[in-house]
């Protein structure tokens, strides 16, 4: 029993017995592998044009497994490279939103009183602004770039995490080990960082996983509106957008990236649900 934590090993044992969670985890692992190995997996270039006009809108064939788009580019190649964008943007954005949300939630929850009230009303106010509207405004104000999209997606999605973390901190701070730490002379910074956040970590990780799916959808929606990652960088949302005009004639241009979005979001949701079922301490205490 010494060494590794019983908590993590028991959680992992529960996780492994959950086929849906394992399927989600495997899919995401595969997606990351594909994103890393994209240049090895396909002989084509994702950006440069094919021979026009004869290569335009070629249906799926042996050379182009998922067909070509209006510039004669291989759809599968662009999807493989596009996964890099979706995965990177969503991962970074979720990191930003989780860190921001945890800080705000922890400070509000731990300090309590008027600080808590003011901070949470601000969160409420931010939540009441339609997110897409906020994103569109910000993008209109600055020039479009991958970094901007990532930061915006992260900076507009932290309010839910803040509420969740605050709730956790509120219930944790009345626990006796917090008074015990205070009785040993620990200051508030140490109590938040060493005692409160680590105990809320599983809940934070679970919510982050579930949130990634939303962020991928957000990125796709922005790209679909032509406000996401600037072309010709391939992104799934943009590919769906580009194919919408020819949906009836060249259905493959939109359909496959659309499916990729669906599969990724579902996989993340399965993973998140699985993590919650396996690790959320609330369900076992």
């Amino acid at each position: 029993m010494s060494g590794g934590s019983f908590f993590w090993s028991a959680g992992w044992a529960r996780f492994r017995k959950n086929p849906r969670a394992m399927a989600g985890a495997a899919t995401i692992l595969a997606l990351y592998l594909v994103a890393i190995l994209a240049p090895v997996l396909t002989p084509y270039d994702p950006v440069s044009h094919g021979d026009l006009p004869e290569m335009r809108h070629q249906p799926p064939s042996r050379e182009h497994l998922l067909g070509t788009d209006k510039f004669g580019r291989d759809v599968m190649t662009r999807m493989l490279y596009g996964s890099r964008i979706s995965l990177t943007v969503s991962f970074l954005a979720v990191t930003i939103s989780v860190v921001l949300g945890s800080i705000v939630g922890a400070v509000a929850g731990y300090t309590g009183g008027i600080v808590d009230a003011v901070m949470m009303r601000m969160v409420d106010a931010l939540m009441s602004i339609p997110r897409l509207f906020l994103l569109l405004t910000c993008i209109a104000l600055f020039s479009r770039s991958l970094l901007l999209v990532t930061i915006l997606l992260g900076a507009t999605g932290w309010m839910g995490t803040a509420r969740l973390v605050r709730g956790q901190i509120l219930s944790l701070k009345s626990r006796e080990f917090v008074s015990a730490a205070e009785a040993l002379g620990a200051g508030s910074g140490r109590i938040v960082l060493r005692h409160l956040i680590p105990n809320a970590l599983t809940v934070i990780i679970v919510s982050a996983t579930l949130r990634i799916g939303l962020i991928i959808l957000g990125e796709a929606a922005l790209s679909f509106l032509g406000l996401g990652v600037p072309p010709p960088t391939p992104s799934w949302g943009q590919m769906v957008y580009e194919g919408r005009e020819v949906l009836l004639d060249a259905w493959w241009v939109s359909t496959f990236p659309g499916l990729a979005i669906v599969v990724t979001v579902v996989a993340y949701n399965l993973l998140g649900d699985g993590l919650r079922d396996s690790f959320d301490p609330v369900q076992f205490t």
């Binding site: 010494s2 040993l184 140490r190």
Partner: protein, 325 residues
């Protein structure tokens, strides 16, 4: 009597709730000498734990609030210290251990790490030195195989072991006063005795004063030098331990001692004190114990002061007026 280490005077701690103001600690005063073990005894809800939290300045505010009095520790009034200064006192000069060792330990860190943190809080030691010290503390509280146990999580230990870990944490900076708030109540009877023995030994070995809070008179008899009895937020009797058990002065103390089972005594039922502890929102006029007291008489309608009975004995009862018992 040894030199004074802690002197509490007229301490008043209240809790303000929607139902009104509860006077949980209402004018408590007593002293603890250097290296002395003092038992603070009373029923649940009599204000013993609130007194302890007040000394540490850990009463949750709101709803709790220390309204008045003074807590002199080595001549310094703790109630006048800033929060920052108070942090240097906590864990360093005064430590406290709580009743329930499992919930007092952080579930996601190993016990060793938590002791190491306690060490590092007040002593400038590197990681390796503080770890070494933590292992030393585990050995001091008689945890077998301390190097291995350093890596155990709280839920992997038994209740007695966890309480030993708590003691190790509390003693890691060699405090001058240890407040033990029902340290053995949540443990098995056999483990209780071990923990109390360990406390007695450690306090004697390092000349550390102990304020032992308990409702268990047997524990008090085992290690305390002096006893302070509390009832409804006030001190009703203070006495050296032998005299208290031989000839309790206050009717409440008498009731407590009579309700203890005794070897060689055959009884159908143990005697008990009739009635209940008064409501802290609505303390009775006069003597707080009067409505449960068999010896009540007219004078009890006004609150008695603490009468000095000589020999270090004090009692808050009109029967003791003029030094009688």
């Amino acid at each position: 009597m040894p030199e004074e280490l802690l002197k509490i005077e007229d301490l008043r701690t209240v809790f303000r709730t929607e139902a009104g103001t509860a006077r949980a600690v209402d004018g408590v005063g007593f002293t603890v000498g250097r290296g002395e073990t003092v038992g603070l005894v009373g029923e649940s809800g009599c204000g013993k734990s609130v007194t302890a939290l007040s000394i540490m300045r850990l009463v949750t505010d709101p709803p709790g609030r220390i309204e008045g009095g003074s807590i002199l520790f080595e001549g310094r009034d703790l109630l006048g210290l800033s929060e920052k200064e108070m942090r240097k006192v906590r864990g360093n000069e005064i430590s406290i251990i709580f009743q329930e060792p499992l919930s007092s330990l952080n579930p996601v860190f190993t016990c060793g790490e938590q002791i190491r943190e306690a060490v590092a809080l007040h002593q400038k030691l590197g990681r390796r030195a503080s770890k070494k010290k933590a292992i030393e503390m585990l050995r001091l509280v008689r945890i077998p195989d301390p190097e291995k146990r350093y890596g155990s999580y709280p839920h992997q230990m038994s209740g007695g072991m966890r309480q030993r870990v708590m003691i190790a944490m509390a003693l890691s900076c060699q405090p001058k006063l240890l407040i033990a708030d029902e340290p053995s109540t949540a443990l098995d009877v056999s483990v209780q005795a071990q923990i109390i023995e360990l406390l007695a030994e450690l306090s004697a070995g390092r000349d550390m004063a102990v304020l032992l809070i308990t409702h268990d008179l047997a524990v008090v008899a085992q290690i305390a030098n002096r006893v302070v009895v509390m009832y409804a937020g006030a001190v009703v009797e203070e006495s050296p331990v032998v005299e208290l058990f031989d000839s309790p002065a206050h009717p409440y103390t008498k009731g407590l001692i009579d309700s203890l089972p005794r070897l060689g005594q055959r009884l159908e039922r143990l005697p008990m004190i009739p009635g209940n502890v008064p409501d802290p929102f609505d303390l009775p006029e006069g003597c707080r114990f009067s409505d449960r007291c068999r010896a009540r008489f007219e004078k009890c309608a006004t609150e008695p002061p603490l009468f000095d009975l000589s020999g270090g004995r004090l009692a808050r009862c009109w029967l003791c007026e003029g030094g009688g018992g």
